[in-house]
């Protein structure tokens, strides 16, 4: 166990435990704030995959934008949830049990697939050049955006404008939906 592994597994445990707490917790405010912890630890995991720019984008977009938006929507939508969070009398229903069962079985399938796969056999991975620690990935991303992935980038920008106009139209005051 060297330092890299210790830090990686610390953040991995932090991601999984905080995500589990977000899902299990009854108090919605606490779960939204724990969502911060999950997103920051995920950004740390992206760093271990040598994706510094993605980690930065994760922090800026998710922690800066999405979570503030979620807090706003939460505060605007259900005031009564803030003061009295009554745990429903029958919180452990059949519905709940079926959800646990489905997600556990799905987890089992994914685990067996991942454990039994030999990743050294993948053809493109043997031929390709891996990213070095010394590489400037932001530089590489910038070049790729303007050359190879220009069309997805343009489509994305049009989509983003559509989504913004749509969200502004939906949230407008006094429209009849």
């Amino acid at each position: 166990m060297d330092q890299e592994q210790i830090i990686f597994y610390f953040f991995a445990a932090s991601v999984l435990i905080s995500a589990l707490c977000v899902v299990v917790m009854k108090n919605l405010v606490r779960s939204i704030f724990l969502f911060f912890v999950t997103l920051f630890s995920l950004a740390a995991l992206y760093l271990f995959a040598l994706a510094d720019f993605i980690a930065l984008a994760q922090v800026v977009i998710y922690a800066g934008g999405v979570l503030v938006l979620m807090l706003f929507a939460f505060m605007l939508s259900n005031k009564e949830l803030l003061n009295s969070l009554k745990p429903a009398a029958s919180s452990f229903k059949f519905n709940n049990f079926a959800g646990i069962l489905i997600s556990l079985l799905f987890l089992l399938i994914l685990f067996t697939v991942i454990v039994n796969t030999d990743f050294n056999q993948i053809a493109w991975m043997q031929q390709s050049v891996p990213i070095n620690v010394a590489d400037n990935t932001t530089h590489i991303i910038g070049i790729h955006t303007m050359t190879r992935y220009l069309l997805p980038f343009e489509i994305l920008s049009v989509f983003l404008m559509m989504a913004l106009i749509g969200a502004a139209h939906l949230a407008r005051k006094g429209n009849k939906i």
Partner: protein, 101 residues
Amino acid sequence: MIPLSHFMLISAGLFCIGLYAVLTKRNAIQVLIGIEFMINAAVLNFVAFGRYDKISGGGQMFALFAIVLAAAGVAVALAIILNVYKYFKSIDPTKTNTLKD
């Protein structure tokens, strides 16, 4: 160097937590958080595979695209949730059963 399968195991765990939230939660915001978990699990996989491919760089590029798409989706979804709350006075997805009155 962390092996690829460990990234994938973490992302599988995160995906299943998100799936559980989507299936069982009775609050639209928590369902949305579950969807975000699933998207983040996918992004983690993109990034983990992208480490092995410097020439075409597809993993990191599409991870970036997925993050931006998720942010746009959240903006629209929260606007819809606010409208649903105005109309039904509740954001329980099991109670909102009509699209039109």
